[in-house]
Assembly symmetry: C2
Amino acid sequence: MAAEIERKFLLDAPPQGVEEHPSEAIAQGYLALDGDVEVRVRRAGERALLTVKAGGGRRRVEEEVEIGRERFEALWPLTAGRRIVKRRYRVPAADGLVFEVDLYEEELAGLVVAEVEFPDDAAANAFTTPDWLGREVTDDPRWKNQALALHGRPD
Amino acid sequence: MAAEIERKFLLDAPPQGVEEHPSEAIAQGYLALDGDVEVRVRRAGERALLTVKAGGGRRRVEEEVEIGRERFEALWPLTAGRRIVKRRYRVPAADGLVFEVDLYEEELAGLVVAEVEFPDDAAANAFTTPDWLGREVTDDPRWKNQALALHGRPD
């Protein structure tokens, strides 16, 4: 499996016209965090998943299972206080790249984050950051999903 | 949904001839325990399930999802140190009742527990305990699956 190369940027505001692009509602919440094991549910559009994630390096495990809308709704209340809710817009860019622009809602309303995924290291390095992208937060753990869900916006 | 009425007994040894009855291998392990949320995997015969359980009383949630053998095998290593492994025999008794006799293995080898489920309170109370059943532990939390998996045999 090829490694995923992603860069993440913090935006001051939604990009002009972002609402014209296709989007889907995403809700993700944590059911249980125990040692290095994370169990979460996620609804993206009509799809609902339960994911168990653990470890790093060679011990890394990530298993995802479709749970359907009804089971998602039953489990969602257990994630209270440990959620992110956002709308994700897919904005096409140069060189066939696509920006995923996330407009956060509820507790994190106002937060706008854009991610772009690259086919390889060379493409990631060659990438010229457009003006409308703000500060890069790729390597800052405070902007990861779990940290945002548990601790809110870091600044 | 009707309440489940179960009584649980501790046996000194496997009942005579128990191996002649149909049985299946059961392996159950805990992936995450977080507050009152419990996430576990269970394999019984060819069936593999992931279960999220939480709360008590009105807030009670229990959702079970089939995960298949392969996903079970991927998740099982995460339950190390928090497992029960046993073979369950189904032993028919009087009045159409069935004893589930569990012969534990691995860390709990030697432990033998029998459970019997009743259609209603009257049947549970009317039940005459056969000689081969030992001490009743129905209401002792130390003999619940999670307690046995985490803390081992209580005596």
